[in-house]
């Protein structure tokens, strides 16, 4: 009996999230990256396609804080523009995959029996298809643009989400509160989406924060094959792929993009961890 008054789930969650230092740090870093990405056209020091062929590859200097690549393009500028694509692809593809995966997994797990068997075999089959083959088909069929890119990535990523959610739902549906809700005549969609899904959000949020960087790397891979983002646009994935080629002589080309990708991964992870705890009403920091 901690409070006489009920707090809304969100007010309560926000209070608890703000008490978690690692999560606040993650939130600040993620926020800063998003702001920088949004303000890129105004804050980037150079135009994204501006080259300085005379300069060539230069290590970090005062004029080029992160150095330049072999065409003399400012790395900081390219990373800022790249972050726009990487973050959007990462977040939207993750969102797509979560929506499909949660719905599919929850329905499969709750219905159980034959439905579950059929639905999960379909997931197994899709799992066994080479992911790249699948994305290529989607991209070729629906055309190469950035929207299709994250839809295609999301369509591949949902498989694991579906498995996680299904596993959780299988144990959750044995709980008394589900039995009680059934006994009160709550309909099947009501039970799946109102009672079960909120209960699996904890592991799902953590998994989502891991999916974002994974999707960013997949986007890099697709771009490398010429299926993703096309030059002169770029993304962190492309920068890393290029950086790897030159890492022996021009190490800054891999160090900066690599560092920021890792930073994003860590902050999302801390944030996800904090969110999981904050959104669990049973968890009490006080």
């Amino acid at each position: 009996m901690t409070r006489g008054q009920g707090e809304s789930l969100w007010a309560d969650a926000r209070r608890r999230l703000l008490q978690n230092r690692a999560a606040v740090l993650g939130l600040c870093v993620t926020g800063a990256l998003l702001v920088a990405a949004a303000l890129t056209p105004w804050i980037s020091p150079y135009a994204y396609d501006e080259q300085d062929l005379n300069l060539g590859a230069s290590p970090p200097t005062r004029a080029h804080l992160f150095g330049t690549d072999s065409l003399g393009r400012d790395l900081l500028t390219r990373m800022l523009y790249g972050s726009r694509i990487s973050l959007v692809v990462g977040l939207l593809a993750t969102l797509v995959s979560m929506i499909i995966g949660i719905t599919y997994g929850a329905v499969s797990g709750y219905l159980g029996g034959r439905w579950d068997a059929v639905m999960m075999r379909l997931v197994d089959i899709l799992y066994s298809l080479p992911f790249i083959f699948f994305v290529i088909i989607l991209m070729v069929y629906f055309g190469r643009n950035i929207v299709n890119l994250f839809v295609a990535l999301g369509c591949v990523q949902w498989l694991t989400t579906a498995r996680i959610v299904r596993g959780q739902v299988l144990t959750l549906k044995q709980k008394e509160f589900v039995e009680a809700a059934v006994a009160m005549g709550v309909s099947t969609p009501g039970i799946v989406f109102r009672h079960l899904v909120p209960n699996v959000l904890g592991p799902i949020i953590v998994y989502a924060t891991l999916t974002v960087p994974a999707v960013m790397l997949e986007e890099a891979f697709l771009s490398f094959l010429g299926l993703g983002v096309q030059p002169p646009n770029c993304s962190w994935g492309i920068l890393i792929a290029e950086g790897v080629k030159h890492m022996e002589l021009e190490s800054w080309l891999i160090l900066f993009p690599g560092f920021f990708l890792s930073l994003t991964l860590f902050s999302l992870n801390f944030l996800g961890d904090g969110l999981r705890d904050a959104l669990d009403p049973k968890y009490r920091a006080d």
């Binding site: 009920g6 008394e176 006994a183």
Partner: protein, 349 residues
């Protein structure tokens, strides 16, 4: 058959078997009983005697497989619940028949506000606007004794104690004003003072709303105090039924007698409570004859050979062969003072 119309719920020869790898578990094996409007029916028995399975199967809440309803009918106002499709059954659950469970701590969804869960139940059965549903939920919470009901609506279950949560569960069950409330061990998980309060609450609400109650418990005392009629179940069968006074004064089945003897009695000076020797039988491998015979102090050779039919007292006169309606008919030629007192035992104890 012609008399069944007047009963609110009429369960006839219900058999529920679980088909497991270890064989067929006969959890409920030929149970028949009726429930009148406004009546409190107590069902007592040890764990695994089939009390809960009987009620869960009526509401279609058993996982199938492994559970299978082998035979029987459960007539609610003339409709057989056992043959209803899923959607019709959903409309019965929580509307005509509500159920509350043993574990109030885990019967509410920890992620949903109490109000959301109450309103959801109501709106699952009635076309009612959200605000009206909320107002009714608050009134009902107030009625079951939750202080500051309006504020509690926006709270989460973990903010409430076990007794309060059971009150919330009761409020939820009664929101739709059901004809029947099934209370499956509603007080087992609560401490003793709270138990009495909850039972008192159920009694009051029963009088107020005029519903029938099926009270399932393993505590003979609880059932005796609350019920108009008692069913004693053992190994998936009703071994004795009658009104509480009669059953307490003259238990006719050795199992009932053992249950009564094992109740704590503050006046007795015994150091130890008498316990029923042995454990309930494996329902997949029931012995021939009476299922209670291996644990029974009165057992005779016949008990191990043939399963006794239901009869009334005394044994010499008119054993009513498996026809429960005949037993409730007044004026049966028996010396028993109580019509409706029936049992399954070869021995007169």
């Amino acid at each position: 058959m012609e008399k069944t119309e007047e009963k609110l719920l009429d369960i006839q020869d219900l058999r529920v078997h679980f088909h497991t790898r270890h064989g067929v578990v006969k959890a409920v094996d030929g149970v028949s009983f009726g429930l009148e409007r406004g009546e409190v029916l107590g069902i007592v028995g040890e764990s695994g005697s089939g009390k809960s399975v009987t009620c869960l199967s009526v509401l279609g809440l058993l996982p199938a497989p492994p559970a299978r309803i082998e035979s029987g009918r459960a007539l609610l106002a003339g409709r057989d619940l056992l043959t209803l499709d899923a959607e019709s059954l959903r409309r019965v659950r929580g509307k005509s028949i509500s159920m509350i469970f043993q574990e109030p701590m885990t019967s509410l969804n920890p992620y949903l506000k109490i109000g959301v869960q109450l309103v959801e139940t109501l709106r699952a059965h009635e076309a009612i606007a959200a605000e009206a549903a909320r107002a009714r939920a608050i009134r009902m919470l107030d009625r079951v004794g939750i202080a500051d009901a309006g504020i509690r609506m926006d709270g989460y279950p973990h903010e409430l104690s076990g007794g309060m949560r059971q009150r919330v569960m009761i409020a939820m069950a009664l929101l739709t004003q059901p004809d029947i409330l099934i209370a499956d061990e509603p007080t087992t998980a609560l401490d003793v003072t709270i138990q009495a309060q909850i039972l008192e609450l159920i009694r009051e609400l029963k009088a107020e709303f005029g519903m029938a109650v099926i009270l399932i418990s393993h505590a003979m005392g609880v059932v005796a105090e609350m019920s108009d009629r008692i069913l004693v179940m053992y190994a998936g069968r009703v071994v004795e039924q009658g009104n509480p006074g009669e059953i307490f004064r003259h238990p006719a089945h050795p199992y009932t007698k053992a249950l009564i003897d094992s109740m704590p009695n503050p006046n007795a000076s015994a150091d130890r409570l008498p316990a029923i020797a042995g454990t309930p039988p494996d329902l997949a491998r029931l012995p021939a004859g009476c299922a209670f015979a291996p644990r029974c102090g009165f057992a005779r050779p016949v008990c191990r050979e043939t399963d006794p039919d239901e009869r009334t007292r005394p044994a010499s006169e008119t054993p009513a062969l498996g026809a429960p309606e005949a037993l409730t008919r007044p004026g049966s030629p028996t010396r028993s003072a109580e019509p409706g007192h029936a049992f399954r035992c070869h021995v007169d104890i």
